[in-house]
């Protein structure tokens, strides 16, 4: 069976559309709300869900995501809890799910055991921020893809090596820095996407710093998928007390997701 991520991009490409990827931190404000949020995000037009599996020391993350991880851990989020949460989402949704995390929680759970149980729960991809390809000894499997990151500082020969071991999509980190909303999109972005395309036919997702519909539209001109994280996470924090918080977040995301659809120039 083809992975849900691959299926998603195949369908979008057939419609000449780009993917909208929403990031939220699992367990913030709690795991039950995460299930509601996931379904609300899907309804709002999210194509792929990126779920943060919280870690105590998220050194690639800016302050918004750090605080979300801290809240999630304080609210009792565990690795098993997050996998159970994915299982609950899977009962009612086929949205592709990528877990975004760091090495240590997976390592302590047991690397192979984690892959087995995450797959069984319905996770489609893994994005491990501090696991470069050099340290990743696991072979790509069809059921749980290891998504590779490329940064603005990654030289061409390294891009080639990374693409050779990539699956699902390439995650291009659109700026040098940690996660978090930014006022503008790096001007070199389109050129970098073109450079990466020389080495791979995989879809290219762009993330880190994208926070509004205008930026989403701009990035959608060159990339195949756009990731918005901190802006949504911040909104969840602000709306946390509202009974209908998941619907409110859905309304916020709807405009962002719509910016990836309709008429876009394919690269």
């Amino acid at each position: 069976m083809q992975n849900r991520i691959d299926q998603c991009f195949t369908a979008l490409r057939a419609r000449n559309e780009k993917a909208f990827i929403a990031y939220i931190c699992a367990g913030d404000p709690n795991l039950a709300r995460t299930v509601d949020l996931a379904l609300s995000l899907e309804k709002a037009g999210t194509d792929i869900l990126e779920l943060g599996l919280p870690f105590s020391d998220p050194l690639a993350d800016g302050i918004v995501n750090q605080l979300a991880a801290q809240r999630a851990l304080e609210a009792g989020a565990t690795v098993q809890g997050v996998l159970d949460c994915v299982g609950q989402i899977r009962r009612v949704s086929q949205i592709p799910i990528v877990l975004y995390t760091y090495m240590n929680p997976i390592f302590q759970f047991g690397f192979e055991r984690f892959h087995r149980e995450a797959s069984a729960a319905g996770v489609d991809g893994l994005l491990i921020l501090d696991l470069p390809p050099e340290e990743d000894l696991a072979a790509q499997t069809e059921t749980l893809l290891h998504i590779r990151l490329i940064a603005p500082t990654t030289p061409a020969e390294r891009i080639e090596a990374i693409c050779a071991k990539a699956a699902g999509f390439i995650y291009y980190v659109s700026r040098e820095g940690v996660t978090g909303a930014q006022a503008s999109v790096a001007s070199s972005l389109a050129e970098r996407v073109v450079e990466i395309r020389r080495f791979t036919n995989l879809p290219i997702a762009v993330g880190f710093g994208i926070s509004n519909a205008e930026q989403v539209r701009e990035v959608a001109r060159s990339a195949d998928a756009i990731v918005v994280g901190s802006a949504i996470v911040q909104r969840i924090f602000e709306e946390r007390a509202a009974q209908d918080m998941p619907e409110r977040i859905g309304a916020f995301v709807k405009a962002l997701a719509a910016a990836t659809k309709g008429k876009t120039n394919s690269a």
């Binding site: 870690f55 105590s56 020391d57 998220p58 050194l59 690639a60 800016g62 750090q66 851990l73 565990t78 690795v79 760091y102 090495m103 240590n104 929680p105 997976i106 390592f107 302590q108 759970f109 921020l129 501090d130 696991l131 470069p132 050099e134 340290e135 990151l149 490329i150 940064a151 603005p152 500082t153 990654t154 030289p155 390294r158 990374i162 980190v173 040098e176 820095g177 940690v178």
Partner: protein
């Protein structure tokens, strides 16, 4: 050299430990650093400049001092102190800071960042940045800024900007997280002078190499004084830079026993400690795979030590390897034992050690009486205790 001294491999692995577990944005900077270091270490011009600075600026070689009264009082083995506390800035940290600032200059990087726990590495980094006219930013947990306020003032006088870190338990680990976030953001202009034998490759290897001068000198000095090798080396281990610096040149000397002393805090059973080899497990933190303190879910545990420099959840990866290999033993000293040793060394030898160093001294106090008087111990007196005087005075009600 034996296999033990030839590690790590090209990707920074010490057997199953070490490696490069960092975000992609840093990979090219780390590769560049490793490549530059590889060239520099074989470049006589680099080595001469570093040697000249270590001699005339930092004050090397440091004495190997026979602690006669301490030896007599303990009534056992002969105790020598390797006096790294006499170096400029007051600790061994300057050895590495000088090496790395020369590398930063070779790479054309003029903005310097560092983390600090006890403040000794921060002071050393601020010092070399001032000496070479570089912008300098030091990340430090607010808890450590409070207990090491003297060093905060020193860094500021040296022209460094000290950035308070409030996340988590606001000590060394959080300071490293913030320094790494800065580096990810400013990697093209910035060199990160990491202060211990920790983090991603090439740091554990490079920091070790810059501190090997401690062991190289000590080996020559003891052979000169006693015409034989020591029986035991003792050093405190936070990340483990002063320990690996002393131990590494002796690794092939099979008769030399080595003990690294971790921070036992309020006791292992209380859970309030930083002794990674007492209940720690294999994991990945801040760029490296090594022994660390984490819960069953992989979240990093809170640590505790009276000593800010040892108050850290992970140990340098080479220490994990050398422990497995049976070459180095590890033990711990509690806060109370370290504080007692702090006073004993002051009163018997006229030397006030850093609280980090006092952990090593505490172990010597435990072990020396059981050794015969023809045995030789070298303890690394890694830093001076001025920074800890007000904390200790409060503790003892002075």
């Amino acid at each position: 050299m034996t296999a033990l001294q030839q590690l790590p491999d090209v990707h920074g692995h010490f057997g199953p430990y070490g490696g490069m577990f960092v975000p992609e944005t840093l990979m090219s900077a780390l590769d560049e650093l490793a490549a530059e270091y590889d060239i520099a270490k074989n470049d006589p011009a680099f080595q001469n400049e570093l040697g000249e600075l270590l001699h005339n600026f930092a004050g090397r070689p440091t004495p190997l001092y026979f602690a006669e009264r301490l030896t007599t009082n303990l009534g056992g083995a002969k105790i020598y102190l390797k006096r790294e506390d006499l170096l400029h800035t007051g600790a061994h940290k300057i050895n590495n800071a000088l090496g790395q600032i020369l590398l930063a200059r070779r790479m054309g990087k003029t903005r310097i960042i560092a983390e600090t726990g006890a403040g000794q590495h921060g002071v050393a980094t601020a010092t070399v940045a001032a000496r070479f006219g570089c912008e300098c930013i030091i990340y430090m947990g607010v808890v450590d800024m409070e207990r090491q306020s003297l060093n905060v003032a020193r860094m500021r006088f040296l022209g460094a900007k000290v950035v308070p870190v409030t996340a988590g338990q606001a000590t060394l680990k959080e300071a490293i997280n913030e320094a790494m976030r800065d580096w990810v953001t400013n990697v093209r202009t910035t060199h990160y002078i990491l202060g211990s034998a920790l983090g991603s490759h090439p740091y554990p290897m490079m920091v070790r190499d810059f501190h090997r001068v401690i062991g190289i000198e000590a080996r020559r000095q003891i052979l000169g004084r006693e015409e034989r090798l020591p029986d035991l080396l003792v050093a405190c281990v936070g990340g483990g830079s002063n320990a690996i610096g002393l131990f590494h040149p002796f690794l092939d000397d099979a008769s030399v026993r080595m003990i690294g002393v971790e921070a036992g805090g309020e006791g292992i059973r209380t859970g309030k400690h930083a002794a990674r080899f007492q209940g720690g497990k294999l994991g990945v933190l801040q760029g490296t795979k090594t022994f660390l303190l984490a819960n069953a879910d992989g979240q990093i545990e809170l640590t505790h030590s009276v000593s800010a420099g040892l108050d850290y959840a992970a140990i340098g990866p080479e220490h994990s390897y050398l422990r497995d290999a049976g070459r180095i033993e590890y033990d711990y000293a509690t806060d109370d034992e370290a504080l007692a040793a702090f006073r004993i060394l002051a009163e018997t030898e006229g030397i006030i050690p850093a609280l980090e160093t006092a952990h090593a001294v505490a172990h010597v106090i435990k072990i020396a009486p059981s050794m015969s008087s023809d045995k030789l111990i070298i303890v690394n007196c890694s830093g001076r205790g001025d920074k800890d005087v007000s904390q200790a005075a409060t503790h003892f009600g002075f």
